[in-house]
């Protein structure tokens, strides 16, 4: 699959504003050297990570949260987590850009879950499964199309898969609690979550949606 996370263009120019032309992604050797300094408690290494990846991570977080302040919080949370737990990443075996992006995504989802848990369920449900009647002017049309496509794809899921996604994403339930709520085994809850996301990913790929 050729799709990448997140939107194209956000990763190519990872440099800070004003830093000039887009830079090449750091080589494996550079990442290893940077990681070594981070493990050794060198804050200047964290500044380099910030310079290299902050635009990309903000794009990942913004795609989920649609909120600039939330995206900045997510960026900070991810970089602090990397600084605090650098050995959770192994440059010999992992891919830093993808790993940081997945961390940013999960924290953005956490923000959405906290946010939506505070909002009326009927509104939440409508936002998840229906197209929104929004004016398209001055908006990034492609991105909105994508958001709509994802929501339409969720609505088209089989009920058993849709309900686990809705419960997980729009309440703060863990998969164990989802299992209890639906009176299904924990393993089933986990596998349905995965199956639902795989089905959504497949649908979106077929549609050619470019997030």
């Amino acid at each position: 699959m050729a799709r990448r996370l997140p939107p194209a263009g956000a990763g190519a120019a990872d440099a800070a504003p004003g830093a000039g032309a887009a830079r090449q992604p750091p080589s494996r050797h550079e990442v290893a050297e940077l990681h070594g300094r981070l493990v050794a408690g060198d804050p200047t290494a964290l500044a380099v990570v910030h310079e290299r990846y902050s635009r990309y991570l903000l794009a990942v977080a913004t795609r989920v949260t649609r909120d600039a302040d939330a995206a900045r919080d997510v960026l900070q949370e991810v970089l602090v987590a990397f600084w605090q737990h650098p050995l959770r990443f192994d440059p010999e075996r992992g891919e830093l850009r993808t790993w940081l992006a997945v961390l940013a995504h999960r924290r953005a989802v956490d923000w959405v879950r906290r946010e939506t848990a505070r909002r009326p369920n009927d509104l939440v449900a409508r936002q998840l499964t229906e197209h929104l009647d929004e004016p398209a002017a001055d908006r990034d049309f492609l991105a909105r199309e994508d958001a709509d496509a994802v929501r339409a794809a969720v609505a088209a899921l089989p009920a058993k898969l849709r309900e686990v996604v809705e419960l997980a994403y729009f309440t703060e339930l863990t998969y164990r609690e989802v299992a209890t709520r639906l009176a299904i085994p924990e393993g089933t809850a986990k596998s349905r979550m995965r199956a639902a996301l795989s089905a959504l990913a497949l649908t979106l790929t077929r549609l050619g949606a470019a997030p």
């Binding site: 997945v102 961390l103 986990k190």
Partner: protein
């Protein structure tokens, strides 16, 4: 947070079963930590998670009703905020010069010691360990926990030698005998610390190591300006007090354990030992910790060669005046010349990197640099090996056959050096 041992997969096992729940945020915090630890070392699962993440529905509108798709710009203030939050969660390596309101960073000539960086690295390993990891056997009959307390004990010997007891607070109970044998001191500490929980063990070791960096910094000629390190504890240090008044004389040697040396070398040795035991602990617990950076490796190798020069000269004395060129390759490498007068590093670029010695031809000895009245050594040799294998040999963690040293000229000269290298290692 410590990762729940019941969740962490065995090495090599993938966590695809949890990825859907993880991506939807529907795991416990401990499970999420375990997944993230796995993703950091599994490209396949990481790509899998990224793919699943794309399928998560974006929220329609923000909490304020404003829908946004473009990421916000990266502001300069963002880095300041990130660094402030990061350093509040985990300080920079002990001994790192920081700007203070009182003035500039610590005076020139003082950098984060290799020891501070090795302490920071081991600390990050220890925070990832489970309670079960702390009890795993590590090396020499010691568990992971014993090994940390061993480092704590030997740090205590040096801290006592430097007179740093005053800043050690209630953890200074074992700082009375700087000349005690390190193993004996370790046994005493192990007995005294039997009830310490893992987290307390880690914290006490870290705090003492930080004190040590501060204490040694205070003995350096450049001390006294802009102190602003980590804990900011004032340590009463007697050694080196005269140094400031007299300009930049050699710092006074102190004896810690059974080794008299200047404080800076003591600290390099502490960094060396901490690195070696970090490797031991990582190996026992399934982690990989990066090796020290180039400057650190260089400093450690240089110290090892200086310590080895005398016993090596004694060992090869029967062969007559001898000279050995030691080339250590890799980041931090360099070329050193050993002869009966001692060891000297050759300036970079001065030494032939790819010597013709491989063909059995030795360079003519340079009369200008050759020692003593017998200007031309009767025997000469050269040895080339990686700087990390050399350091591991010195640390007693590898063997001569496995370091793959290339030897030229008189092979016995190199063989004596390599055979002596592990003699510097302690438990």
């Amino acid at each position: 947070m410590t990762v729940d041992p019941t969740i962490v997969p065995s090495p090599g096992a993938c966590m695809s079963g949890l990825l859907g729940a993880y991506v939807l945020g529907a795991c416990t915090a401990a499970e999420a930590d375990a997944v993230e630890t796995h993703l950091g070392r599994c490209v396949a699962c990481s790509a899998d998670a990224a793919e699943l993440a794309l399928a998560v529905p974006p929220l329609a509108r923000s909490a304020t009703g404003e829908a946004r798709d473009a990421p916000p710009p990266v502001e300069a203030a963002s880095l300041d905020a990130v660094l402030a939050a990061a350093l509040a969660a985990r300080p920079a390596a002990p001994g790192t010069p920081v700007r203070s309101e009182a003035g500039p960073v610590r005076a020139h000539g003082w950098q984060t010691p290799a020891y501070g960086r090795r302490v920071a690295a081991l600390d990050r390993l220890l925070v990832e360990l489970t309670p079960a990891d702390w009890t795993r056997p590590a090396v020499a009959g010691w568990s992971v926990r014993d090994l940390v307390l061993h480092l704590y004990a030997v740090d205590g010997l040096l801290l006592a030698a430097l007179g740093g007891v005053a800043g050690a607070g209630d953890a200074g109970h074992d700082l009375e005998r700087p000349d005690e044998d390190p193993v004996t001191r370790t046994e005493v500490v192990l007995a005294a610390a039997r009830e310490w929980p893992a987290e307390q063990t880690r914290r006490r070791w870290y705090e003492r190591a930080t004190l040590l960096c501060t204490a040694v910094a205070d003995t350096s000629p450049a001390s006294g300006v802009g102190v602003g390190v980590g804990v900011g504890v004032g340590v009463g240090v007697g050694v080196g007090a005269d140094a400031d008044a007299a300009g930049d004389p050699e710092p006074l040697a102190v004896t810690a354990g059974d080794w008299p040396s200047i404080p800076a070398d003591h600290l390099t040795a502490r960094g060396f030992e901490t690195w070696i035991h970090t490797r031991d602990i990582a190996a026992a617990t399934g982690f990989t910790v990066p090796d020290p950076g180039r400057d650190e490796l260089h400093t450690m190798a240089d110290l090892a060669l200086r310590l080895l020069a005398e016993p090596w000269a004694a060992a090869v004395a029967p062969t007559g005046p001898a000279a050995l060129t030691v080339t250590l390759t890799g980041p931090g490498g360099g070329t050193w010349s050993l002869d009966p007068s001692g060891v000297a590093e050759r300036p970079p670029g001065d030494a032939p990197v790819e010597p013709s010695w491989a063909a059995g031809v030795l360079p003519a000895a340079d009369p200008a640099t050759a020692p003593g009245p017998t200007a031309v050594p009767t025997v000469a040799g050269a040895v080339t090996l990686g700087i990390v294998p050399f350091c591991l040999l010195v640390g007693g963690r590898t063997t001569v056959p496995t370091v793959a040293a290339q030897v030229a000229g008189d092979e016995q000269l190199a063989a004596e050096l390599l055979a002596l290298a592990p003699s510097l290692a302690r438990p």
